[in-house]
Structure formats: C-alpha cells, structure tokens
C-alpha cells in the first residue's frame, strides 16, 4: 500500500495552498460581509487551471486526477468555503456531465472555456417542489421538430447568476412522473427565455451566488441535448457522486481552518493566569477535531482514489460526504466555543466557518439522503 500523495499531487496542493493563503484569505471576510461574488479570484482560479482541473489536455485542461481535484477543494475551503463551492460548481458539477457524457463537439465547445475560466458553469437540478426527490422535477423540455422548448423554474442554483453555461435537467417525456423521463441539456445562459431570479439571502456561503432560474418558452437546438433522452437522471446522479467527494473535501477544509484558529487562540488566550489550552476540557475538543479531520480526509481521499482507479466509489463518496460535513459542523461549533465571546463576533473568522459549513450537510444530497444511500449498500436495495 502506497499511503502518500504523488509528487504531482503534492505540488498541486502546495500551489493552491499558497494561492488560497495569499489571494483568497485576504478577501474572504469582505465578500462574506458584502455578499459579493469574488469575480477577480474566480477568474484567477481559471488562470491557474483549477476550474477544469480534471479536463484532459486535449480539451484545454491540465488533466489532473480526482485526488488532486479533492485536495484543491480542501485547500480552497481553508481560506473560504464560498470559493471552494464556486470551484466545485464549475470543476465538478458543470465539467463532469460534459466530460463523462458529452459528445466530441460538446466537449470541444465547452471544456476549454470552463477550464480557463473564460466561461463559468452552473448545474440546475433542484426545483421548489423537487429537492431530495430530484426525479420528480417538473421543468419540461418539449420536442418540436429540431428543437426543444423549455418551461419551468429552478431553485438554489449555485453560480446561477454569474454562469455562462447551465447544465439543465428537464422532463422530455411528459407522460412520465419519475426519473426515467428526465434529460440533460447544455444551455447558453444568454438564450432567449433564460431568466435569472433572486440571489438567495443565506445563513452563510455569502460569496457564492445561489439563484432561482426561470425558463419561459426557451428554445434549444437539438444539439443542446447531453447524452440521450431519458438519460438525464443517470447523468445527474453520476455527477453528484463526484460532487460528494468535493463536498467532503470542502468540509474537511472548513474544519481545518476552524481547528487551526482554535489551536492558535487556545494557546494565546489566558484565563485564570494560564493559556486556556492548558485545560483538559479544551485539549479534548482539539484532540477530537484533530482525529476527526484526519479521518474525514482519509475518507475523501479513499473515495477520490477509487474514482481514479475506475472502481465503484458511490458508497465511499457518500460515507466521506456524510462524515466530513457532520464532523465539520461539530468542529466549527466547538471552535466558536473555544473562542468564547470573541468567537461570536465578526472580528474572528470562526463564526463564518460555523455559518458556512451548515449547507454542506444539505446540498449534494442531505445527510439523511447519504444515510439512505449508505444503508442501501449495507442492507441491499
């Protein structure tokens, strides 16, 4: 067993760590406060080749593996969870469907731009009445000759307000009510009938846009279909499997940031004449964080490694996502506790970590849905 990163993986991680510390961390609090999209650093992620990290060289990407992809998600999240999610919506949720299910023309058309950051992508599955039960979506794509006509609305779409390309899931079989009638489309967001709704006011992840999208008689050429008709749900779920690795890695990064801040604070802060870190009550919190962060990292690396080995990784990705997000939720709550009153103020970053992490227990499949997926592997379908 080779229990270490390759030189390339380490070099990628080190570069992103430096980038995140030097360029993202200094602007993270400001974007959080102002609820502004960090376009400058998002474009830098493109320049550095992060936004299409797994895209092969022939389509303009660096062709890195999924272990590197996951390491990037962790490093970005240490500086700012929003950046990690902006990265994921592009590098995983938008690139993935095209890379794995696109035809040659679609790959050539979109992957170079998604890789360089020239275009940003979003992934539109969720609707107001269709969340965990994604197969019940009601946005329709009606075939009319050489075209599809799309009507409906999407909810909670990351990057929705800034995206140039939308991977859209809509029902092509009007007779069906379940997952079988769903198809995937690649939509230029400038298409007539594509409308962007409000950017949600959220608990956290303020620098990442989460939009409603509306489609009003939006006409798509038949070339916009990704994969075959009826294959949409399969594409959506396959994409989420990789997205879960990203969410697990991002969670690990947020927890690491909370942990590092807590260790530093506990050694510095004195009460009763000595650093609070000398109290076993504080030490045990830090020890628990140390162990569970390492466990989460190993879970997501295992899932990413399985994916790189082209072995089944759905179960592993669900385990990693569930454990890492719940671990990080606890870690950030403890981080605020260790910081005391200071932790509750915006003078310290830990309150942001606590707000930002919550969504990781909800998107890319809630904790309950992860347990459902895992239980299916445990007790059989």
């Amino acid at each position: 067993m080779q229990f270490q990163l390759t030189e390339d993986q380490r070099a990628v991680r080190d570069m992103v760590r430096e980038f995140a510390a030097k360029e993202i961390a200094p602007v993270a609090a400001k974007h959080d406060r102002e609820h502004s999209f960090p376009m400058a650093t998002a474009k830098r992620m493109g320049e550095l080749g992060l936004l299409g990290i797994t895209v092969p060289e022939q389509y303009g990407g660096p062709g890195a593996d999924y272990v590197s992809f996951a390491l990037v998600a962790e490093e970005l999240a240490v500086a700012d969870a929003s950046h990690s999610v902006i990265f994921g919506a592009n590098a995983s949720l938008s690139v993935g469907p095209i890379l794995n299910f696109g035809n040659e023309a679609q790959k050539q058309r979109y992957l170079p731009g998604l890789s360089s950051g020239a275009i940003l992508g979003c992934y539109a599955l969720t609707e107001s009445q269709s969340g965990s039960d994604a197969g019940s979506l009601t946005t329709t794509a009606r075939k009319e000759g050489e075209h599809y006509v799309v009507n409906g609305a999407k909810q909670f779409i990351t990057n929705g307000g800034v995206a140039d390309l939308c991977v859209l899931f809509a029902r092509t079989d009007s007779a069906s009510k379940d997952a079988k009638g769903v198809s995937a489309f690649l939509v230029d967001t400038k298409t007539k009938g594509f409308k962007v709704g409000r950017n949600e006011h959220k608990l956290g992840l303020n620098a990442s846009y989460t939009n409603q999208l509306f489609f009003e008689d939006m006409v798509l050429p038949k070339e916009a279909l990704l994969g075959r008709e009826g294959e949409g749900f399969k594409i959506a779920m396959a994409t989420l499997d990789t997205g879960r690795i990203m969410a697990a890695a991002g969670s690990t990064g947020i927890a690491r940031a909370a942990f590092e801040a807590s260790v530093a604070y506990a050694k510095e802060r004195k009460q009763f004449g000595r650093p609070i870190a000398t109290n076993q009550a504080i030490q045990w919190k830090l020890a628990d964080m140390d162990v569970t962060i390492e466990a989460a990292r190993n879970l997501y690396l295992k899932a990413a490694w399985l994916r790189d080995q082209k072995q089944p990784y759905t179960h592993a990705a669900s385990r990693a996502k569930l454990f890492a997000s719940e671990m990080a939720m606890k870690a950030t709550i403890e981080a605020v506790q260790i910081h005391g009153g200071n932790g509750y103020t915006k003078d310290y970053p830990v309150e942001r970590y606590m707000r930002d992490i919550k969504i990781f227990e909800i998107f890319e499949g809630t904790s309950e849905i992860q347990r459902l997926v895992i239980a299916r592997h445990v007790v059989g379908a």
Partner: protein, 254 residues
Amino acid sequence: MVKIAVLVKMAPDVTQLKIDPTTLAPRMEGLPWKVSDFDKNAIEAAVKLKEKGQATKITAYTFNGGPNALNLIKEPLAMGCDEAVVLTGPDTDGSGIARVLAEAIKKDGADLVFAGEMSIDRIAGEVGPRVAALLGMPSLVNTQEVLGVEGGKLKATRDGEPAETVEVALPCAATFNDEANKPRLPALMQILGAGKKPIRQVKTSDLGIADATLARKMAMTGNKAPKQERKNILFTGTDAAEQLAAALKKEGVA
C-alpha cells in the same frame, strides 16, 4: 539567441525554524526545504524576458540541493525555465559553490546569469557576484526592473532613490531581491508539465573539478540565535500610559 542561466538554491524553510531554548541553536531536523525566495525573483525576471521574446532558453542550475533537489527543481521548471541542471559534489563553502556553478555554466554557455541577491538561510550574498567574476562578466547587483535586452546590452534599473538606469554589455550577471518583481504562481498545466522538461544530473567530477580543491576554507563553528532579553517592567497607577510613553522615549523608541 540570448541564453539565461539562473542560479537556484534549495534551502531549509527558515520561516518554520524553531530555536532550541536552552542551546539557542536552530533546530534543523525535519525542516522542509524549498527554493530560496530571492531566487524566484531571478527566475521571474528571466521568464519575463523570455515572454518578451528577448531570451530563447532558460536553464536553472542548482548545487547540492539536498535529497529532494530533483523534485524541488520542478518549481523553477513550472515557473518557466526550460531545463535544469542538478549538480552534486562534496560539501564546500561559498567560493567552492561559485566555482562549481561557474564551471557548469561555462560548459553550457550563457549570455545572462541571474541569481537571487542572497539565500534565505545563509544570507551571505556572495555566490552571484563570485560566479560573475569567475566567468569574467560584469555584475549588476540590486537589480530592480529588467527593461530588456537590446543591441547586446541588458537594460535595467537599480534599486535606490532615485533609481539608476543602467546598461550592461552581454554577457553579464545580475542579482535580484524581492523588490524586483512578484514571482508567479505556476498554473496547474505548468506544474504537471514540469516533470516532462529535461533535468540533467551532473557531478562535480564530471566537470573536471577535483574533490580536494573544493575542501572548505571557511566553516561555521557555531550558530546561536540572539538572546531575547525582555525588560519586564510593569507600569502601574493612573498615569501608567504616561510612564510607558516616557520610558519608550528614553529608549529612543518613540
């Protein structure tokens, strides 16, 4: 056809250095190594010239860069150097290091020799100018901005108030510090492509340098961090601030 040689030192990351509180000696074990900071400014200056079309080839030279040198040298390659020469030989001092580098560069040929002003660990600042002397090149120190290479001359500004503008006939050498430029973060494509660039491993004996001639003439016999003596004066009372201000003034701090 302007060829640039860049001198790159691998050094322990002194920002992570811890001092033994009893012996005051630096704890070197376990310190990660990296490309010495100012050398990245030299690399950046070279890569910029190449991007301007005023240099054709950049070769990075490193000598005795430790067990991880072959891996660390990928960073200069990712930043834009075309090839690397990883030199190894007996432990030696600054004059020996300069000789090894100069011999290697003489063999390959170079019109420009760029180097960091000093290294992060030894802070000696001797190797760049020594290599220039051994190669019979004029040596520009404290280089600020490289304006370009034109008509067989390197045009640059030198650090200072006001900055000097200088022209130096090629071949020549120049050293850089962190004021000179902002070294780039290489993109993923460059990082993953760096391993495909040629790396030549050369021993000092391959260069015809006899080991005995590299024997140290200068050696460090001790290295202690300065003792940090604190005054531990406590000011009390309602005029504590005034007392502190007065004490600081007396010390010449304010």
